[in-house]
């Protein structure tokens, strides 16, 4: 932070750009080996970006991904791995959908209905992640393990609740089942995008608000400082007066609350019901995007859009006989190579800075002193 220099921007971009290039190379090789000309594949994908519909859909995907990434990033900033965003948002979306679709909600004004739905989703997400937080601070259970377990338990719970005997109804004209459809007063209208048949989710605004709030919390508040300090050095944070247990619980709750929002743009803007085919696995996408965007509010926005665009443009590939999963491979390679690249850049940057300090003071520090 602080002043922005050309060098720090360059170093900041080196890792993601490098990873992207590397991923393109890997995918190019895979495509070539499997008999698909990589350049024409790329051309098809880029070509589809010219269609407004693709852009609108990419934005919609990015909205969802971004919320998930912020939820993950809140944990990451404190070195907490909330692998459980996946379970948190599915449970939250399901229960929020059941609430929003309930008949007693019909009589409420639209704004109240939507706010209640959002609050309910945040609450459910927070409760589910809170279990992991609670187990960590009281029993020392690793949040990685507990959230993995809670994901699976959430899957079972959603399957249990999404049953015509309980919260679900059969969707007319199919053998799908889902929560009762949310009537118009509970929906969030889309924003028309010129030339596109699909609207942009109205809740793209929610993602923007969450992003700004996240930035503000991290850089301008005492809470954010304590959060980052704990992530950088738990022992130093303790010595400075941070109550780490409280912070763990607070950040898990916060992360879960944001995770609860992940399903809402789609739920309130498009599907209007939580059915068996509601997208799963967005929590893991969030991890990938948080990593690529370095937990930075703007970095993650770019990463989310890249992910959304990759997903949406890959739809044209099936037409030309290229399995669109090449995009998933690419995303996997990006994640793995970007973390390696960030690590390399971090080491390089520290060396540069030490050299600068050394130069400014006319002495050079020995590696031994640096590691102390």
């Amino acid at each position: 932070m602080g002043r922005i220099s050309l060098r720090s921007v360059g170093l900041g971009l080196a890792a993601p750009v490098g990873a992207l290039v590397f991923a393109l190379l890997v995918c190019g090789v895979i495509l070539s080996i499997t008999g698909h000309p990589p350049f024409s594949v790329a051309e098809d994908m880029i070509g589809s970006l010219e269609r407004p519909r693709t852009i609108a859909n990419s934005l919609n995907s990015a909205t969802t991904y971004y919320l998930s990434a912020v939820a993950v990033a809140i944990g990451f900033k404190m070195r907490l791995f909330n692998i459980g965003v996946d379970g948190q948002y599915r449970l939250a979306a399901m229960l929020a959908a059941a609430l929003a679709g309930a008949s007693f909600m019909e009589s409420l004004p639209s704004v109240v209905r939507i706010l209640l739905t959002i609050l309910a989703a945040m609450l459910v997400g927070a409760v589910w992640s809170g279990i992991a937080g609670f187990l960590k601070v009281t029993r020392g259970v690793s949040e990685v393990i507990s959230t993995i377990m809670l994901n699976a338990i959430a899957t079972a719970l959603v399957a249990f609740l999404l049953n015509p005997d309980r919260l679900a109804v059969t969707v007319a004209g199919s053998n799908n089942i889902g929560t009762a459809p949310i009537t118009e007063g509970g929906q969030v209208p889309g924003i028309p995008y010129s030339g596109s048949s699909s609207d942009v989710y109205g809740l793209v605004a929610l993602a923007a608000v969450v992003g700004v709030a996240y930035w503000f919390m991290l850089n301008r508040t005492r809470f954010g400082f304590d959060l980052k300090a704990t992530g950088e050095s738990e022992s130093a944070a303790v010595a400075s007066g941070v109550n780490v247990k409280k912070m763990v619980l607070a950040s898990m709750l916060l992360s879960g609350a944001v995770a609860g929002l992940v399903g809402l743009p789609q739920l309130l803007g498009d599907s209007h019901s939580y059915a068996l085919d509601f997208p799963a696995g967005l929590g893991f996408t969030g991890i990938a995007i948080a990593l690529l965007g370095r937990n930075h509010p703007i970095g993650m926005a770019f990463a989310a859009f890249l992910w959304g665009a990759l997903d949406q443009t890959s739809n044209v590939l099936d037409l030309s006989g290229v399995p669109k999963e090449i995009v998933v491979i690419m995303q996997g390679v990006i994640v793995l190579s970007v973390v390696i690249a960030y690590e390399l850049v971090r080491r390089y940057k520290l060396r540069l800075e030490q050299r600068d300090v050394g130069r400014a003071l006319g002495t050079t520090k020995t590696p031994e002193e640096v590691q102390g």
């Binding site: 692998i83 029993r139 377990m149 699976a152 893991f284 996997g332 793995l336 973390v339 390696i340």
Partner: protein, 418 residues
């Protein structure tokens, strides 16, 4: 030199001594557990609880989980967390599918193992060479593997006879074996419905009748792992990398090498687990692993990072899996079992003077028993959550008994120790 005078200011490091238990205790525990299960069977009339059919189904379900758990054990004993197990298993299922339908199950298995090992190798490069956080690398592998396999499946299986976009053509099964003579004898005893004796017979019959050769392979691997990691120099060095890598380094152990070996082996075992899954269900299907990598991880924790424990955990989880398929009465009886297990745990914790934990265990245990008493069945959707709930309970109520490798999850770089 005497030991007197050492007490000044240094007692901090003295931990309560832990004794090694003799194998007899584990045997006694197993017998006691079976007695409880028999009791529950007699009380509830859920004959399926110990029928040889259930046991055989449990065994089949347990093997992939057990191998995933064993894979986790190899990696974590060398200090590297492997939550990429799920992804490596996916690679294994695909390898078995691709090669299994063309060249037979054994070649398929080998291919699955090889692909899993490649997955492990990638994890090793990321975590050991580049010092990437173990969780992140694991997540990335788990994200990428299904994409890669689905991509290739679409290319190679779509036009193959009997295949599809998301599934391979059928794979032959490997031979199954029984211990001759034993099966009928045990079957007769099982029919008698005697307390304990019939249960034991059912258990043994399930374990010795119509067993897949792949199950035998898995069993051999467990024994081999126990020997390799605890009785050989290779194993000692590997474990030392997970406990104190700088100590190992200072004694000339090439920590990188052992970590690489362990993680690659971990990938290979996970791949084997996936391959067995594919062979046992006669084809590769997208999404076939269904979180078994994570259940394997759970069984590793449940088993306290020891092969016997992992096997027991996987057996337990395979058992709940099998129960799901075998009628609701039996599943319902599981509630009572879980309740009793928690009460036993409460007593153990009480003896260790951990009153808070003991009371929590008691409350949850009683709740399970009340649930059992007040209901006739358990919703089948909830049963699949059982392994995860059990693992969470073990972690939160019996964590002080767990002995996690000390250097787990931390980065090691040569020459940067003390």
């Amino acid at each position: 030199m005497t030991a007197s005078g050492l007490a000044v200011g240094v007692q901090d490091t003295v931990a309560p001594s832990r004794r090694r238990r003799s194998p007899m205790i584990y045997f006694a525990l197993a017998v006691a557990a079976l007695v409880v299960v028999s009791l529950v069977r007699v009380l509830t009339g859920a004959g399926n609880l110990t029928s040889s059919g259930t046991v055989a189904a449990a065994l089949t379900a347990a093997v992939p989980i057990a191998l995933a758990g064993l894979a986790g054990l190899w990696s974590e004993r060398a200090g590297v967390i492997n939550i990429g197990l799920e992804g490596m298993m996916v690679l294994g299922t695909f390898g078995a599918g691709l090669f299994g339908y063309q060249y037979g199950p054994w070649v398929g298995i080998v291919a699955g193992v090889a692909l899993g090992a490649v997955g492990g190798l990638i994890h090793a490069v990321a975590t050991v060479t580049f010092g990437v956080d173990h969780i992140i690398s694991g997540v990335a592998i788990t994200l990428a593997a299904p994409g890669l396999t689905l991509f290739l499946a679409k290319l190679y299986f779509t036009d193959a006879p009997g295949g599809g976009q998301k599934q391979s053509p059928p794979i032959e099964d490997v031979p199954h074996v029984s211990i001759p003579g034993l099966s009928t004898l045990l079957g007769d005893i099982e029919q008698l419905q005697w307390f304990f004796v019939s249960d034991l017979a059912g258990l043994l019959r399930g374990l010795t009748t119509d067993v897949s050769l792949l199950t035998v392979v898995a069993l051999v691997l467990f024994v081999a792992t126990a020997y390799a990691l605890w009785r050989t120099a290779f194993g000692l060095r590997l474990r030392s990398c997970g406990e104190a890598p700088f100590a190992a380094e200072s004694l000339g152990v090439n920590v990188y090498k052992y970590k690489y070996a362990a993680i690659t082996m971990s990938g290979a075992l996970a791949g084997l687990g996936g391959a067995i899954l594919a062979v046992a269900s006669s084809q590769f299907r997208d999404g076939q692993t269904g979180g078994r990598g994570y259940i394997g991880l759970a069984s590793m924790i449940f088993g306290n990072w020891r092969p016997g424990g992992v096997a027991a955990g996987a057996g337990l989880f395979g058992y709940t899996d099998a129960m799901q398929l075998r009628g609701e009465g039996a599943v319902h009886a599981l509630l009572l079992l879980l309740g009793i297990a928690l009460l036993v745990l409460a007593v153990v914790q009480l003896r260790g003077k951990r009153y808070a934990v003991a009371s929590v265990a008691t409350v949850i245990g009683v709740l399970f028993i009340v649930w059992f008493a007040l209901s006739d069945q358990v919703p089948p959707e909830l049963v699949s959550a059982a392994p995860y709930v059990v693992t969470l309970l073990v972690l939160s109520l019996a964590a002080q008994r767990l002995r996690v490798p000390k250097w787990i999850g931390r980065t090691y770089r040569r020459g940067e120790g003390g």
